[in-house]
């Protein structure tokens, strides 16, 4: 375990970035299907749509909404990182780019969005 942490936290962190990009990509794809399915309820009238949206009012879905925010931020920032690298910029600083940009800046943006969301939709219900 110690060897794996040392490996993927250090020189091989590009692999961690790749896995994060894949996993968050799949989660967003799943969310997209769920989103389209919910919107599709509009076809059956306003009442059906309200009922479909109402299913997402529970605490669990509010927490999942916060997790969705995290997935979007990670996927977007990591995508920007990969684009920068593919353009030939910062190849020798890819590890720093991952930890400082994708994770560091990502965590700040996530907290800025997740804390108000948590306070408004979970704690003050």
């Amino acid at each position: 375990m110690k060897d794996l942490i040392r490996k993927y936290g250090g020189p091989f962190s590009g692999m961690v970035a790749h896995l994060i990009q894949r996993v968050t990509g799949l989660l967003l794809l799943f969310y997209l299907f769920l989103h389209v399915r919910t919107i599709y309820a509009l076809r059956e009238g306003p009442a059906a749509f309200d009922q479909a949206v109402g299913a997402f009012n529970g605490v669990l879905f509010k927490l999942l909404e916060i997790a969705l925010l995290g997935a979007v931020i990670l996927h977007a920032l990591n995508g920007i990182r990969i684009t920068i690298l593919d353009l030939g910029l910062g190849q020798d600083r890819q590890r720093r780019l991952f930890w400082a940009w994708s994770i560091g800046v990502g965590a700040l943006i996530f907290l800025a969005g997740a804390i108000p969301l948590f306070l408004a939709s979970v704690l003050r219900r």
Binding site: K2, D3, L4, R6, K7, P11, F12, S13, G14, M15, A17, H18, I82, L85, D86, L87, G88, Q91, D92, Q94, R95
Partner: protein
Amino acid sequence: MTGSYEVRVTKSAGVRSFQVTLGERMTVLDALFRIQAQQDSSLAFRCACRVGMCGTCAMYINKVPRLACKTRPAQLDSAVISIAPLPHLPVIQDLVVSLGPFFDQWKRIKPALRGSGADTLAIIPPNPDTSRKRDCITCGICYAACGIKASHADYLGPAAINKAFLRLKDPRDSANKARLSVLNDEWSGVWRCHTQFNCTAACPKKIDLTDTIARIKRAMLTS
């Protein structure tokens, strides 16, 4: 400073543990020689130069592909040293793998200089874009470290792509069209690379292989 290590070797018959005492400046390759001489004479491994020039002693050491002759137990920062054969390559015996699949991909990009007449004898001026990339010792470490190679056996691999890049940059060469068609292959060419940087991280010669692949991708898109 002398240290005692538990060396876990993945042999063809299964994992075997050995206790070995090693000096501070001794390497994992020295540990294998000591095991072979004192504890298990049947242990099979390969080496040649012992100074990191030939790439023959590439192995999977503590979950990372490395050269055994350039890896000191002290730098692993662990009392346990696990040694296994390189991944993605068929094992011949114990720690000895066949580099056949690696060189099959290498041959696909036509590694030899293809020119005509006296032009091929011309001495080309040094190119800062390629000088570091010429250090490849074909050890197979990048090939073993590549995450894409694990799921796409047809993928050329970083070393072959790096060799193709050197040929593309060589003004004496005349086989670039054939080489580019191999590199541009949707399933096995440069487009398979997902910028994981594993090859660059593992390369014992510090060649920025991911940069090589990205350069070829950009050149293909802009030409």
